[in-house]
Amino acid sequence: MDFGFTEEQERLRKKVREFFQEELPEDYDWGGGAETAEEGQAFMRELQKKTAKQGYLTSGWPKEYDGMGLGYVEQGIVDEEFGYAGISWPSQLGLHLAAPAVFLFGTEEQKKKFIPPLARGEAVWFEAFTEPEAGSDEANQQTRAVQDGDYFILNGQKTFISGIYKPDFLYTLARTADTVPKHRGISLFLIPADLPGITYRALPSMGGGTQNDIFFDNVKVHKEYLLGELNRGFYHAMATFEFERTGTAFPGRVKRGLEEFIQFCKEEKRNGKPLIEDPEVRKLLAEMAVEAEIWKLMAWKAVWWFGNREELGPMPFDLSGMCNKQLTTAQSEKMSKILGIYGQLRQGSKWAKHEGRVERGWRSTRSLHAAGTLEIYKYVIARRGLGLPRIPAKLNAVIAQALDEKK
């Protein structure tokens, strides 16, 4: 067992940290929100390209695809640092979901088409999986893709698709066959986001981001945009979900948030005394530090496992995802508790404490359902990790029939 990093890895961490320190402006508002303004978006796109030039954006990718050819641990270090700097990449989903999927299931042509723009930090991807009837039940895809010569014709609707940047590509699922069970008739598509027939409707979310509806109205998709095997899309998607659920960026960001908040508690006075001298505040800060440490350990364990596993497939006990769901909420609540009545004041109020970050953070932790709710994580761990029984398919069928009859 060894929780340490090699000297070389520490050097990489230092270089990456310095790079971000150098590149971010004095008044950069770490921790989200900045990129929601147009000005912020433009800045972030430029920074992403600059980072790509250094190689840090794709440090874990093979050299022939413009990566640095480093290992998972090095990739984890870079991720932790960009999280620590408070950055979120416009092409996050492309880098962490679409790219691994293309590497795993794509043809040589597809790799040549999709990978270089991502490596240059240019292409923005949306993961368009969720539908009104297919949230966590991904197999229940209603969007249809009907083959017509060299093309597939797509019709349907996606919903709750997160993303604040204009996308270049969509990474999406559609039904290509009516099969029992449902998940054997689904295919995975990589679609240019501006094909005729695709329309978008955006809704701001409580946490400051945006959730989109995407409508496909007779969208003609060339068959070269089908990823992997026809009708095996569900399996491909499941295989790549684990790339979405592991990462060191989030704990890095949380650590930074806590450091900033502790600094604030040292500077802010209540009844003439710094906040940090209050025993109750100290206790909450210590608890948050413990949670941040747990999170870091769980994330690194997942990264380590990822680089050392023998075959593709979900880790039986990946608790790092549960940390994301469970501990962010706990942290924001504790910070809010420390601020008391001031915890509700939004950024911009002259009375807001800590620039209103706590209020914003609290709100954003109410909208953490991307990649599945906490309950879905628990359900997956219960079945895959602990081998607990599931409701038999037969019983499900009986329930479905009863519901039908009721209609």
């Binding site: 340490g4 950069y28 641990v73 930074r256 600094q263 800060l285 350990l297 380590w304 620039e355 607990l388």
Partner: protein, 422 residues
């Protein structure tokens, strides 16, 4: 970075698991707790044969020179079966103190005897006042006085929660020999023969039926050669040993939570109610996952602290975090397991889960509970500073009226109408 146990550690874990499952079933635990000794001398000599008593001692003292991480692996297995033994008192709390602070003669005389299983020691630290105050495991909590008198010292005072004192040959007593204003300075460690006149040990009755003692020192004379380490400078070595002890308690709790997890999941899969295994219910699954969550999070905090101790890296924060979290987590893990096991879990004559739950109370408080260690964490995080840059004002987002807060989306609508291209 490597999140696996080494081959040697795996082997140690396996051997320990097999031995303990065979030699220490539930019946043995129940029998042992009925007896006054509180441990089984036969098992004690068996684990001496397995070299568990000298595991972390150097070879020249009949030890096997293994690391503290190895010891943690062993403690995890001991926790898994609630192995009743004075191992922590003898080997860790006293043995390691003697190893780090003792004179060459003391080491050569005492350590091999410990390793062979011929000697039992107990650490007398907590006091009535300080244990109520929560400072029991810190230097400022030590008020029992030892006064120099010719070629010996005279100790007076009461120590509480002294585990294994009733069976110990010697009690290692931390006493104050000087009041200098600095609590860490002025503490001296005395090896007191329990048969000395004036030493009186009474057993305390606890939830877990383990038998910590109240040790009263009434004009107890201790020869100067029984001082371990330097006069007035006993806190330094003791502080580190207390950290090691705390991490070993964590490892024990991790093993215990692991067992709770196994019991709960097994029960959830096999107990049939309403014609189905109860584990099909998501409430039950939720409880099982909570046990898993508390077990795994405690495990990695503990391993990290044990690894840092082994590598002699600075780890005040990691140790405090591990004990703070694990103390609480173990109790919660047991609680959730109880919810799954229901009646099977709490019948005190039959349910094995009760043993884990009750033992938890001792482990939770011994060598510092959650608030004690959270205080230490707070002390450490206070030193954190945020990088000066970047820490600025928002980039204007919040100046935008709410209805216009998604400007990036507008062009898309226009694009559809052919007004813009991209």
């Amino acid at each position: 970075m490597d999140y696996l146990l080494s081959e040697e550690q795996e082997k140690l874990k396996e051997t320990a698991c097999q031995f303990l499952e065979k030699e220490c079933p539930e019946t043995v635990i129940r029998e042992t707790r009925e007896e006054d000794q509180g441990y089984s001398p036969q098992l004690w000599s068996k684990i001496a044969d397995l070299k568990w008593l000298g595991l972390v001692f150097p070879e020249k003292y009949e030890g096997t020179d293994r690391s503290l991480l190895d010891l943690a692996v062993l403690y995890e297995e001991m926790g898994r079966v609630i192995f009743p033994s004075p191992h922590l008192s003898t080997v860790v709390l006293c043995g390691l103190t003697i190893l780090s602070a003792g004179s060459e003669e003391q080491k050569a005389e005492l350590l091999p005897r410990i390793a062979k299983g011929d000697l039992i020691l107990a650490l007398a630290l907590a006091e009535p006042e300080s244990s109520w105050d929560g400072n029991a495991w810190d230097a400022q909590g030590i008020t029992v006085q030892a006064a120099a008198d010719g070629d010996h010292y005279v100790i007076n005072g009461t120590k509480l929660f002294v585990h294994d004192a009733h069976v110990a040959d010697y009690v290692l007593c931390a006493a104050r020999t000087k009041d200098s204003g600095q609590p860490e300075h002025g503490i001296t460690l005395f090896l007191v023969d329990t048969k000395s006149p004036g030493v009186e040990c009474t057993l305390l009755n606890t939830t877990a039926y383990d038998k910590p003692g109240e040790v009263v020192f009434n004009q107890v004379e201790v020869p100067k050669e029984n001082i371990v380490g330097e006069v007035n400078k006993g806190w330094g070595p003791l502080a580190r040993v207390l950290q090691i002890g705390a991490v070993m308690l964590c490892a024990q709790m991790v093993g215990s939570s692991q067992k709770a997890l196994e019991l709960a999941v097994d029960h959830a899969k096999t107990r049939i109610q309403f014609d189905m295994p109860i584990g099909i219910n998501q409430y039950i699954q939720g409880h099982c996952i909570d046990v898993l969550w508390y077990t795994e999070t405690s495990r990695w905090l503990t391993y990290q602290a044990a690894w840092k101790l082994s590598e002699e890296l600075p780890c005040d924060m990691e140790v405090a975090m591990a004990k703070a979290w694990t103390s609480e987590a173990h109790e919660k893990a047991c609680w959730h397991a109880h919810q799954v096991l229901a009646g099977v879990g709490y019948t005190s004559q039959k349910g094995v889960m009760t043993l884990y739950s009750m033992k938890g109370k001792t482990l939770q408080h011994y060598l510092g509970d959650t608030s004690f260690h959270l205080n230490k964490v707070a002390h450490e995080v206070e030193k954190w500073t945020a990088p000066e840059k970047p820490r600025g004002k928002p980039l204007g987002y919040w100046d935008i009226p709410a209805e216009e807060q998604i400007p990036a989306w507008e062009p898309w609508q226009e694009l559809r109408k052919g007004k813009k291209t991209w």
